[in-house]
Symmetry: C2
Subunit: 199 residues, 2 copies
């Protein structure tokens, strides 16, 4: 039996009606929701199951104050009002975990000493996991606000010092302000023939 | 009203039970499905709506023969049997389309001449769109088999000559062989505390 097409309401929630939120209701996101989010997104596929994303959920006032100076001017105020902001980091030492993650062969040796392959594999796969993260958030009823407008080096110094983890992008999580005046009109997308071809 | 958590069957289909398929039923994927897939994944968020993914759906025998020599030995035979394989490309000239995609400001000027920003933005956002692509495929009942085991330069020469599009990764699409013997047991994932922390 082939799997079905998901319901229109699910497809709307995941893709068609979901928006990158810019303003947040004063409504908390609990730790159980963050665990539920991770326990979905972790199943998304990565190359050799390498799973290089590392996530810091910035939730407390102290953590928000650490993040604040790194944010671009346009992102600062709104991000401070989000109940949680996730820093999606990329672990450039991801291959150390391959004996656990990909146990049936010596995948660690594919990467050791190959800096170009490490860099490309880490960035591609942590970013893919960031995409799964955004859709997993939406799938449990959260709004997501992904952003790359911040100072990566400042975030790395504040949250990832002493590791090979580097910030990739950040995602505010919560419940978007339902007032239609706070969101831009939706921007256009490329038509199929501008972005795709079938050969 | 907050949005609901999607049904368990939807979460299973998207995340928990979905597998990277290695063998395919002899059952076609039609052009209408490829349009439906794109018309979902296109809504996923990208930085400044830059939408740099460009997709070639390899469907005909002639297109498959063009792709075949670029595939790694381990991926060749199974990929030739997939009804469709999508090449997810990254357009490093994506900023040329920003006057259309992000019309309310001159975002094109943020990128022109800034090669490092172009490169990072293009790769990050086309890869995010690749993540949306995989989950959009699953959401319409297709199985997906993402792979990065191929010769990027050969694929670029065969499919993207004369453009600034470079292959990112590929995704076989179809209906996975339901025989449980053809799939590996599922590999483990990192526990929450190994991949995440809440601050």
């Amino acid at each position: 039996m082939p799997l079905p097409i998901l319901s229109d309401s699910a497809l709307d929630q995941l893709f068609r009606h979901a928006r990158t939120q810019n303003a947040w209701q004063d409504k908390p996101v609990g730790e159980a929701q963050l665990h539920a989010l991770y326990d979905l997104m972790k199943w998304g596929p990565t190359s050799a199951n390498c799973s290089p994303a590392r996530i810091v959920f910035v939730k407390s006032d102290a953590a928000k104050r650490k993040l604040e100076p790194a944010l671009s001017d346009g992102n600062r105020a709104k991000t401070m009002k989000a109940p949680v902001t996730a820093i999606i980091g990329t672990d450039y030492a991801f291959y150390e975990k391959l004996p656990y993650l990909f146990p049936h062969t010596d995948a660690k040796s594919w990467f050791e000493g190959n800096e170009k392959l490490i860099e490309t594999t880490a960035f591609r796969n942590a970013t893919l996991q960031g995409g799964y993260f955004i859709l997993a958030a939406r799938s449990i009823g959260l709004d997501a606000g992904p952003m790359s407008g911040f100072d990566n080096a400042m975030v790395d110094a504040a949250f990832f010092a002493g590791t090979k983890i580097r910030s990739n992008f950040i995602v505010a999580l919560g419940y978007g302000d339902p007032d239609p005046k706070v969101l831009f009109p939706r921007s256009p997308r490329l038509a199929f023939d501008e972005a795709c071809r079938i050969e």
